[in-house]
Amino acid sequence: MSDRISVAKTYKLYIGGAFPRSESGRSYPVTDHKGAFLANAAQGSRKDARDAVGAARKAFPGWSGATAYNRGQVLYRVAEMLEGRREQFIAEVSAAEGVPAKKAQSLVDAAIDRWVWYAGWTDKIASVLGAANPVAGPYFSFSTPEPTGVVAVLAPQQSSLLGLVSVVAPVIASGNTAVVVTSQDRPLPAITLSEVLATSDLPGGVVNLLTGRTAEIAPWLASHADVNALDLTGAPESIRADLERSAAGTVKRVLRARPSEDFTREPDLSRIRAYLETKTVWHPMGV
């Protein structure tokens, strides 16, 4: 009896809660760390990026307007779904990053824990980063952190799951919506994450995942006038300066995270804080 021929998958993008093919019709082969074929991934184009930004903008009022408690519940639910796909993630991380199963397991566990950690922050951000300001008069003055808007995230190229979770979760925890360009050569854990997000309670468009060439898509996101912030973590060194320059054209917030960041380190609030605006309101004393 001959060996069974395995069914090679051709994955699609994740935009607005749906899985469309790339507008360009392109796809590219994804290999493991040794060069063996794993699957085909969609090669996103600038128009896919534009559609993703549109979807993220559309999702923003609903997601940022949801109560912090509700956002937390949704993110916990995602963590439960991640847990359910644990074995698949371990296999994919192991294949992509070339680490032994044991190490892959600890990376996946850390990623799920990281997600839970950020889920817990949703309803605490306002009390930790906000303030009731002292005033010399019969007034109140409050400062509250507000989400920036649509955040374009260039996910880390090396850490395919833990790194991805560490850059995406803080963006959406505070109510932003995200357009994520995944690791170019290691996109499979990100694609599985998109399948997790699609079947959890996360509203469509809150996270949009584009696979493809980072250097091709990133400039369009950096210059897009409807993107409010840009995370440079996974940006190729050669185009970083250009990306910052075009991001400045529409006064985006730019997070200059280094590609060498160690994601196994305990996280802190800095990534949440990077995508917040502070709104200060004076309240005259009530009647």
Binding site: R50, V53, R57, W220, S223, H224, A225, D226, V227, S246, G249
Partner: protein, 318 residues
């Protein structure tokens, strides 16, 4: 029944009395539903890029009837809409102005004062818009009021109930009377194609409106779903083209409602060019009834000129 203009004998015969009108309308060839939908979809796939796209966007902007027809309209809102009509993108003076501002009759004066001397028309819906359910006297008074207030274009609705129950003479006479009440103002006849059910009915209503003297035939009020669709606009464009062949007159078409994106607008322009002909590609013979479409056109225009995608933060919210 009286023919409003001198018509070729075949058409003059059609408007002699109600039964000949019915005979004429029912004698029109039926619309091939599959064919027209396929042709509309086929033309919709045509790719318009770079310089042609830029020209299409500017043409579309100049064809927009910037519309606000809400119960919550205020003079302030109409004034800001008029400002936007004069200068759609204030940072870019080379953007053409729109064709007209379309409002309810009581807002016509506000709009007319704001648009005096700009060459932008003031269009007013009239005749018990959007349902058209009232007496002829009230419809005529509504029309006269709009024209007195300064409307240069009147958008009337036909009596769909009468049309669907086959009382074509009634619909015809109403259009003729409203046309008289319009005086010099241009008359656009709204067929409300969403309520006409079949393409055959759309073709009949189009011919009815053209025979009665409508300067434009308009798809819909925007208050009924579905509003304008590409195949329906194809049928109406065929009607004005055939009218031109038979009488030598040029009449216009205005799709309204549901056209929100530049991509959609360009599909309509392609249809105008292919179905009616290039002489219809101007705002005397083709209009878009829209409010949100203009913002998308402006954003796409900026994308073309600036070399990067624009966003809704950079156009006025109306």
């Amino acid at each position: 029944m009286a023919a409003p203009t001198t018509l070729p004998s075949a058409l003059a015969d059609a408007v002699r009395d109600e039964s000949s009108l019915r005979r004429f309308l029912h004698g029109l060839p039926g619309v091939d539903q599959v064919g027209v939908e396929q042709r509309a979809a086929g033309l919709g796939t045509r790719s318009i890029k770079k310089a042609s796209k830029m020209q299409a966007i500017d043409t579309a902007i100049s064809m927009v009837d910037l519309t606000t027809l809400e119960g919550a309209d205020t003079p302030g809102k109409v004034r800001s809409l008029a400002a936007k009509a004069r200068r759609p993108d204030p940072e870019r003076p080379d953007v053409p102005k729109v064709a007209a501002v379309c409002v309810y009759p009581d807002m016509v004066k506000t709009a007319a004062d704001e648009l005096k001397g700009t060459g932008i028309n003031v269009a007013s819906v009239a005749t018990a818009f959007p349902s058209g359910r009232s007496t002829l006297e009230i419809k005529l008074a509504d029309t006269r009021f709009a024209v007195e207030q300064g409307a240069t274009e009147v958008d009337m609705v036909i009596d769909r109930g009468a049309f669907l129950s086959g009382r074509y003479g009634l619909v015809f006479d109403e259009i003729v009377r409203v046309k008289e009440a319009c005086g010099d103002a241009h008359l656009k006849v709204i067929l409300e194609t969403g309520e006409l059910v079949t393409y055959d009915n759309v073709r009949r209503a189009s011919w009815l409106a053209l025979l009665a003297g409508g300067d434009f035939i308009k798809t819909s009020t925007g208050k009924v779903q579905p509003a304008a669709t590409l195949p329906v606009t194809h049928v109406m464009l065929q009607a004005v083209r055939d009218w031109h062949t038979q009488t030598g007159e040029l009449r216009g078409v205005k799709p309204a409602g549901g056209i929100r994106t530049t991509k959609d607008a360009i599909k309509y322009l392609v249809a105008v060019h292919e179905v009616a002909g290039p002489e219809w590609l101007n705002n005397h013979l083709f209009r878009f009834g829209a409010s949100t479409l203009l913002n998308d056109l402006l954003m796409q225009r900026r994308t073309q000129t600036d070399g990067h995608y624009s966003g809704p933060d950079y156009v006025t919210v109306d």
